[in-house]
């Protein structure tokens, strides 16, 4: 049963649509806060701030993440500059179907530059990021195509050139009239 739901989620997974963490993340934070004992109200408050302001934005070149109420933070990194991807799941996270994806760039600290939490399809997201990482794909296959497309490209370029020239000429003429009317 779990296998079928997993594949169902997989087919629906779209990283570009991810914006907010799953509500389960707050449940997880709740448990973590409870584990701190007497400090839990304070910890829970900071967790709540983090959870309620956490936003993701995945685009073609990179991923942005922002959070914070008083001290706002926004991190942006490009997929190609990711050095290593860490997927960690502790027992509680496994029970709740959560995971943490830590992304590292070539920075000076051993801490992760970005920790994405609260994504239910963490493995799919990891694969998404991995496939955009440097060295995950054969780069020659997509870029060596350019020479073979020469003919087509030339054709498009020629047509575009013609239109652009015409537009430029019309701009020149329009500006000329403008200048003449002003009597400069």
């Amino acid at each position: 049963m779990s296998a079928t739901t997993a594949t169902g989620l997989e087919s629906k997974f779209d990283a570009f649509k991810l914006e907010r963490p799953d509500p389960k993340l707050f449940q997880y934070y709740l448990w973590c806060a409870l584990l701190t004992g007497p400090l839990s109200p304070i910890v829970l408050l900071s967790f709540w701030f983090r959870y309620s302001t956490l936003r993701f934005k995945f685009d073609d070149t990179g991923v942005a993440m922002s959070w914070g109420v008083l001290f706002k933070q926004e991190v942006y990194l490009t997929y190609r500059r990711i050095q290593d991807i860490h997927l960690t799941r502790n027992l509680l996270q496994r029970w709740m179907g959560l995971a943490k994806i830590s992304l590292q760039t070539a920075s000076g600290s051993s801490k992760a530059e970005m920790s994405i939490e609260g994504v239910l399809q963490a493995e799919e997201l990891r694969d998404f990021l991995y496939s955009r990482m440097r060295g995950a794909k054969d780069e020659s296959s997509s870029t060596m195509r350019a020479p073979t497309d020469h003919g087509v490209a030339e054709h498009i370029a020629a047509a575009g050139n013609e239109r652009a020239t015409r537009a430029l000429e019309e701009i020149r003429d329009a500006l000329k009239t403008l200048v003449e009317k002003r009597g400069v």
């Binding site: 490009t78 190609r80 500059r81 990711i82 050095q83 290593d84 991807i85 860490h86 997927l87 960690t88 799941r89 502790n90 027992l91 496994r94 029970w95 830590s102 590292q104 760039t105 070539a106 920075s107 000076g108 600290s109 051993s110 801490k111 992760a112 990891r126 694969d127 991995y130 496939s131 990482m133 440097r134 060295g135 995950a136 794909k137 780069e139 020659s140 870029t143 060596m144 350019a146 020479p147 020469h150 490209a153 030339e154 370029a157 575009g160 050139n161 239109r163 652009a164 537009a167 430029l168 019309e170 701009i171 329009a174 500006l175 009239t177 403008l178 009317k181 002003r182």
Partner: protein, 260 residues
């Protein structure tokens, strides 16, 4: 004698399977090695640390066990001799303290061994380890900065070595402990084919021309660009957006010209 040993072995195996069953079912410990998406299955190799690594861990286990248990036993014997009645009363507790941690530690060693996976594809490597916190690290060969093979005298005796793979960036690389350390490295502990892994990564380096710190253009892309320039294509190339923009400017200019 041999029969008794076999029975013990079978019983312990049966117990361990029970533990493993609980781990996979209730604690969601995955049984299969991690899968690398997009890699073709022929080139992917998944393996655990070598058997020697298990013996290596157990050696330290027995040394630690002997040291701690001798101390505990002596302490209990002292109590028994000094105060015989108290000694007899606390005997079950004392023996539980002496024996139970050993069993737990022994099972933990096996679990640690069985949950460690190293997966090498033709482009990247993925390392999984951990029982409570399962930690999966993915590194592409392109991003690897250096490879170190380490082997201590005891490891040499067991025919194993550690391969430490580092990517660009600083931070602690003393890792080796399972846990939450997230550094710029991957550690393949206790493998018998360390040289093979190292030469695989070296071979990948031979194919690559980049410095491994996120260059935005690959050699092929640069080649493609120069090719395009050489053929005079980019010199007069207007993209569809540019043409549209130009036409917009024209429209505005025309409007302005007619309005004045």
């Amino acid at each position: 004698m041999a029969l008794g040993e076999k029975a013990i072995l079978r019983a312990s195996q049966w117990c361990y399977q029970g533990v493993w069953g609980i781990a996979t079912k209730w604690f969601h410990v995955p049984e299969e090695p991690p899968h690398i998406q997009g890699a073709d299955d022929f080139s992917v190799r998944s393996f655990r640390p070598s058997e020697g690594y298990l013996r290596y861990l157990k050696l330290f286990f027995w040394i630690g066990l002997a040291a701690i248990d001798i101390v505990l036993t002596i302490a209990w014997l002292v109590v028994l001799i000094a105060m015989p009645i108290v000694g007899i009363i606390i005997a079950p507790l004392a023996w539980a303290v002496i024996i139970l941690p050993d069993i737990v530690a022994y099972i933990a060693i096996h679990l640690r061994y069985d949950t460690t996976w190293y997966v090498l594809s033709d482009r990247s490597m993925r390392i999984r380890r951990g029982i409570w916190t399962i930690h999966e690290t993915t590194i592409t060969y392109e991003n690897i900065q250096n490879v170190a093979v380490r082997q201590g005298p005891v490891q040499r005796y067991f025919g194993i070595a550690d391969v430490l793979v580092e990517t660009a960036g600083g931070g602690a690389t003393t890792g080796g402990e399972t846990g939450t350390i997230v550094g710029h490295f991957g550690l393949l502990e206790g493998i018998s084919n360390a040289e093979e892994v190292r030469s695989l990564i070296l071979a990948k380096w031979g194919e690559s021309r980049s410095a491994g710190i996120g260059d935005d253009l690959s050699a092929h892309e640069i080649l493609g660009k120069t090719h395009a320039v050489a053929s005079g294509l980019t010199a007069g190339q207007w993209s569809a957006e540019q043409v549209l923009l130009l036409e917009n400017i024209r429209d505005l200019a025309v409007k302005l010209a007619t309005a004045v």
